[in-house]
């Protein structure tokens, strides 16, 4: 149970951090919200305030929940295998989270 939990949450956290970093760095597939027009668009017009946070944030949280559930559901049956994978997944999750936070801080501070 414990190893299964660590495995599932490790997968969920790593998947969420990966989605966050990918959508932040590439802006690929990000839906923008235009608050002055109350509209959603894939390609915001220039000179109009466009918010990409909603799509990025919702996608990150949705992937975290879905990946955690899926990993719990289809976790390896053997607890030792689960524990071994959890031991590999969590360091990668922390690394990806730190990378995401660091990239975000640098990106925001460098923004004109």
């Amino acid at each position: 149970m414990s190893a299964r939990g660590r495995f599932a949450t490790g997968v969920g956290t790593l998947a969420a951090a990966t989605v966050y970093l990918f959508t932040t760095t590439t802006r690929a597939g990000v839906l923008y919200y235009l608050p002055t027009r109350a509209e959603w668009t894939w390609s915001p017009p220039t000179g109009v305030i466009a918010m990409d946070w909603f799509a990025r944030s919702h996608a990150t949280l949705a992937v975290a929940a879905a990946a955690t559930w899926a990993a719990w559901r289809w976790a390896p049956a053997e607890p030792k295998t689960c524990a071994r994978w959890a031991g590999r997944l969590w360091p990668m999750s922390w690394l990806m989270l730190a990378w995401s936070a660091g990239y975000t801080a640098l990106w925001l501070c460098a923004r004109p």
């Binding site: 939990g5 969420a16 966050y20 919200y33 305030i49 946070w53 944030s57 923004r111």
Partner: protein, 147 residues
């Protein structure tokens, strides 16, 4: 305007409750790690934290567009750019904390309360530090035009 103000106040109240719950969570998990577990609180605080996180997130999402236009675009970008950057940093950090809050809930229910894993210790500590950073940041940004 009334609903936006009400949303902001409720957002702040929920953020206060979130800060309290994640701070207590970090403390009880560290205490359990040192051999003094409290199974009831180790399961209660993550659930409270998740509820508060969802409330803070939902209310923040509802008032964010108004902030982006009426506060940031019309005032902060010109007079206090540092506050606009700090606010965006806080919003993005809040997103990254979500998976850790979820992980804390799952781990607190899956593990033996007397032997919390390093993953749970890490989640509880990181979430507490992140939420405190966000609470202080939100207070600083909100105080730009007050004092």
């Amino acid at each position: 305007m009334f609903w936006i103000k009400l949303g902001l106040v409720l957002h702040a109240v929920a953020a206060g409750a979130l800060t309290g719950s994640v701070t207590h969570l970090a403390l009880v998990v560290w205490r359990a790690h040192r051999g003094r577990p409290n199974p009831r609180l180790q399961r209660l605080y993550p659930a409270v934290a998740l509820g508060c996180y969802l409330a803070v997130y939902s209310l923040g999402s509802a008032i964010y567009p108004r902030y982006r236009v009426a506060v940031r675009a019309e005032w902060l970008d010109e007079h206090a750019a540092w506050a606009a950057v700090l606010f965006d940093l806080k919003e993005n950090l809040a997103t990254l904390l979500g998976p850790l809050v979820l992980a804390a809930v799952v781990l607190s229910r899956a593990e033996d309360p007397a032997r919390p894993s390093r993953a749970l210790l890490g989640c509880a500590t990181a979430v507490a530090l992140g939420v405190w950073f966000n609470a202080v940041s939100g207070l600083l940004v909100a105080s730009v035009r007050s004092v």
